[in-house]
Symmetry: C2
Subunit: 666 residues, 2 copies
């Protein structure tokens, strides 16, 4: 008697992609419910099993579905938005502002649906994603029926789904709790990258991942600059720093790993970190060449990912696998590097291991889920077929097969595509919705093209100041009291500075454009001599994020750029509607007060002659911290001798421009 | 009144790819006979022209067909034959032996037909080819209706279509004469590469190309090794050497140009040399990174090619264009390098210029031929579309479009594909023929897998000695006369050597396998001391190409490999059926005799004690030269004191093994 199964696949070239790379031709596979019962030679499998449905594969390849090890699926809606740009211009000028404006649960759902259909068409049955509103990504993916590791992004910056990182972590925890036992979705947490997270975020994310035993996704060492900064700030490169933050307590899947050395490879290996290699993205953004062959030789589980469609611009794993194989040869100078079968293993069995789900998918083995694709290799661009070497079939798949050769896709025992038919999904409706988003984004950017920020970015690459500042400010009658107070034992001075500053403010008719400041900073040494001069542009946005009690402000829309050109150049380039000039003497201290670090500015405005002002500022990344610092800042301003009546919430430029100095009363 | 035309294309996104990158949406194009009359805004074109057939393009992109600037189309039949191998193993172990065995007019015709259909499907309307039996490539291409620059290959080695280069040049001349005025085919000549040609070939090819005003195709500086060898042999890198050989008198299209410097770029520019960049092939064979951005900046016409399908493994220009754009960014470290529109220009207008046919194709301009493709960009993987920046459309084509999005192809005003239908071509018949070739090639290689050469190649990478040798040999009674003669004024000694040689010959049951010699060469210095020892393997084939009068032989089946392993290792690895050991003392001179260079070996066989032998050898590349040298060699042997009766045609091993020493009589 034969065992009854749901599906019996026959007459296929079965590539199991198991450790031994067993292949059967003609081969057969028995599937029951969500799982594979057995794969083997057709005669053997037919003797053991009979199918409720028997599928004659017509000599096609039957293999495990491909695994896209790193992507941001909702970004399909931003495909082709901005290409051929420098990373800072691309990110600050386009991606970030558009994401802040448009990314919503609806955006994420639509982008995910389009991505999933594109993934199915190209033979992908499982992917690892990190984005915002990740629960909506999971929801849309599960509805379509694909398998995914879905990871809620956490950043120290405000994100489309959270003003503070605590909220992102909370979103992540809720999401993981709700989805932990889903049959298709593995929920997880994604501290975006060491350089975009605080130590607190890294610790908290690792703890969360360990608590629920879910993967932790992140980006490591994508650019040389990132590594350089890590060395500067932490005295070590990215991987040791991540280790120090306990990240490797969790099951980590790290994207990129472009700029890592052999020691770091061994650290990753020791902690069973999976790596997602993204050849297209690394080339397109000129990030560098990941040492893929070395990682594989060392024994790391390296998968292949497309990255998001804004930096690729598609989700085509066949192209990605091919490029991974090509690039490794060139990088190592050895055409035998990363042979076809290894590249295909990276996109199947090894990729699943990198995602820490190697026990359930990635190969056709008894007990694993039925994540299966059929591929027609009989077409013109894929002929002829050589049989001499059993490895030729992998070479054919990697070097000549196109995603359009995938004909059928099954995930978890359920059909998602048959003979290239996606069933009930209405592609044209989704496309129409995507076009609507594109239209709105176009309009938004056309308006922004006029913006000062875009122009700033365009000429020099502005850097968003990596901070929100809590700030308190007050007028004082003279500087004597403040200088005395600052030298008292209650305050520890970390370092002092002295500047003479010449500021030219450009004003614009639309106040939403903010104000652009061109500053000439003279550094004054102990002897009162000018030791150095620095020129900077700062775009001060109109947005105040929050006003705490006692006139403490939380601000975060400042962009800095070095000013390499003359004031004349900027005047012509930005064409301001008005200008204000302010000259002041600034003494500045970095201090520790009641356990909190602050910058204290003691300013004397010389032109116009507005007298003395006191400012205290502190960087913050979280809401709780901001509230705490606002309270301490209020106490510090008072300790330095300012009376509550003299507190200000306005910038100098506002005092001057609006002629409101005398009216200012809080 | 409107002008009547054959085809009026309407409702298209018309990308002219002209110098100004004019685009029209909705746009229209008027085609009459084989040419474009005009492209422009739809309303304007519709007012001026009416079509015998009006084609509503349904909002698709209408643009000039792509140009594949470097390929070897018949190699579609070798696609996937051998991948992930070192160049020498790939070339010597697989490509060369298979080509010598299988490449025929029939092979070339079938391979070209398959390639042409694959090219049409992927939107290519024109390609530059170089292969053997090129007239048959041209014939098959013209029948299908594609445009091509077809180039007859000339090599100093024997080729599938010619034993000597004189024959290849003659084939080229006949082909060019017959096809010079064809409407689709531009015939041309292809000296394969400076390092695979003699100076005579380069001169003759350049003269031929100039005589008929046709392009000259070649490969330049594909690998670092090639440049190194050029410096060693000619004292200069590849481009100056090519210039010295008058190559740039012709209209040159040079493939690869990977390892060239800025000076060489300017030499190419000065001589209006077109360059074919082959990113996939360069990556896959680990050849290096061509300085594409620098070439383009300098003003060179750089096109994009797929190279042959044995090193790619497809003819997909969309993937190739994409990779060209990606790779240039990474190589230059600048993501703004080679933006999308430039990549697409390389594959259209600039590519045509590189092929020296920029006046007839490559853009949609009045008077150029109607080489047109339609592309559907409304599919899932290619959405949404942003309109803000007119450049987005190029970005969409380069970064997200697939060859399968091409729906219609017209060449020279004739339809080759409509709605992905290739018309009367029976793809399944072609595929069946290709499978038949694959089957025969498989069998051939399975037999060869046993071969000594394959095994030699597999362990060390044998080098085919870059020569055919004319050789004459004779027994002499002692060495006195020969040593006297060699010091006479008739002979100029270029350098002397002295070896003591210990040779172990491995014999095999199948005499077709040849004989493998393991040689230990002791270098003897002036004082009779051993100054150095060298270990080498030489596979001596059974083939004698030609026997000239006076027992002069022309041989060319010798493969050399350094012997890094022990004799024991090789004995086990090759498992010979018999062994012969020969020890001899060899004095060797490189001499000039009657204006011709020879090696003279004066051997004393010590074990077995066979006495003295005299050998003279000279390298040759052409039949005429070989005949000439055979005559001089005969005279030299006699001059050195050997009598005609003592001439031999057998190797020492044959003398010993067959016990035929005493029977040897010629």
């Amino acid at each position: 008697m034969t065992t009854k199964v749901d599906y019996l696949f026959t007459n296929a070239i079965v590539l199991t992609m198991d450790e031994e790379l067993n292949q059967y031709e003609p081969g057969a596979v028995a599937v029951k419910a969500d799982s594979i019962l057995e794969a083997g030679p057709e005669s053997q499998i037919k003797n053991k099993y009979s199918g409720t449905e028997t599928i004659d594969c017509g000599g096609k390849i039957l293999m495990p579905g491909l695994i896209n090890a790193h992507t941001h699926v909702p970004m399909t809606l931003l495909r082709g938005l901005a290409d051929d740009l420098r990373l800072d211009v691309w990110l600050l000028g386009y991606m970030m502002p558009v994401e802040r404006e448009f990314v919503s649960p609806d955006f994420v759902r639509l982008g995910t649906q389009i991505a999933c259909l594109e993934l199915i068409r190209s033979g992908v049955t499982c992917f690892a994603d990190m984005y915002y509103f990740e629960e909506h990504v999971a929801q849309a993916t599960a509805e379509i029926g694909l398998r995914a590791v879905c990871s809620q992004t956490v950043l120290k910056f405000p994100a489309p789904d959270a003003d503070f990182y605590e909220e992102s972590l909370e979103l992540g925890r809720d999401f993981i709790e709700r989805w932990k036992d889903h049959e298709l979705i593995v929920p997880s947490i994604a501290p975006h990258a060491p350089y975009t997270c605080t130590e607190e975020i890294l610790h908290a994310a690792a703890e969360l991942a360990v608590e629920f035993d879910v993967p932790l996704l992140t980006h490591f060492a994508e650019t040389a600059l990132e590594v350089e900064k890590s060395r500067d700030e932490h005295g070590m490169p990215v991987i040791p720093y991540a280790k120090k933050q306990n990240l490797f307590d969790a099951k980590v899947l790290a994207a990129h790993c472009v700029h890592i050395d052999e020691g770091e490879i061994h650290t990753l290996l020791h902690h069973n970190v999976g790596v997602a290699h993204n050849p297209t993205s690394n080339l397109k953004l000129a990030s560098g060449y990941a040492p893929v062959s070395k990682m594989i030789e060392a024994g790391l589980n390296v998968g292949i990912g497309t990255d998001g469609t804004a930096s690729n611009n598609d989700l085509d794993m066949f192209e990605e696998i091919r490029l991974a194989a090509f690039l490794a040869k060139s990088v190592s100078g050895d055409p035998t590097s990363l042979p076809a079968h290894t590249a295909l293993e990276m996109a199947t069995r090894t990729g699943a291991k990198a995602l820490h789900i190697g026990d359930i998918t990635g190969s056709l083995e008894p007990g694993k889920r039925a994540d299966i694709i059929l591929i027609d290799i009989s077409r013109l661009h894929n002929s002829p077929r050589f049989h001499r070497d059993p490895g030729s079939i992998y070479s054919q798949l990697v070097y000549a097969t196109k995603s359009s050769d995938v004909s059928d896709v099954m995930v978890n025992g359920k059909w998602l595509m048959r003979e290239r038919d996606l069933g009930t999904w209405d592609e044209s409706d989704l496309l129409a919705q995507a076009e609507d988003y594109a239209h709105r984004i176009d309009s938004f950017l056309v308006q922004r093209e006029q913006s000062i920020l875009s122009k700033l970015v365009a000429i020099g690459g502005a850097l968003q100041e990596e901070s929100f500042e809590v700030q308190a400010k007050a007028r004082i009658s003279d500087d004597t009291k403040a200088i005395e107070a600052i030298q008292s034992p209650e305050i520890e001075i970390l370092y002092p500075r002295h500047y003479h500053e010449y500021d030219t403010y450009f004003l614009f008719e639309d106040p939403q454009q903010g104000t652009l400041r061109y500053r000439e900073d003279e550094f004054i040494d102990k002897d009162g001599q000018v030791s150095n001069v620095r020129y900077r542009l700062t775009l001060i946005g109109p947005v105040r994020e929050h006003q705490f009690p006692s006139d403490v402000l939380l601000s975060r829309s400042r962009f800095l750029a070095p000013a390499h050109h003359s004031l004349r150049f900027y005047r012509e380039y930005f064409n301001p509607s008005g200008e204000v000039f302010i000259e002041k003497d600034r003494r500045r201290w970095r201090v520790l007060f009641q356990g909190t670090e602050f910058y204290v500015n003691l300013d004397r405005l010389d032109q116009p002659e507005l007298g003395y002002f006191l400012e205290v500022k502190s960087r913050t990344w979280s809401r709780r911290d901001a509230e705490h610092k606002a309270q301490v800042a209020t106490r510090l301003v008072e300790f330095l001798g300012a009376s509550p009546e003299e507190r200000l919430t306005k910038d100098y430029i506002e005092l001057v421009d609006l002629g409101e100095l005398n009216k200012e009363k809080t």
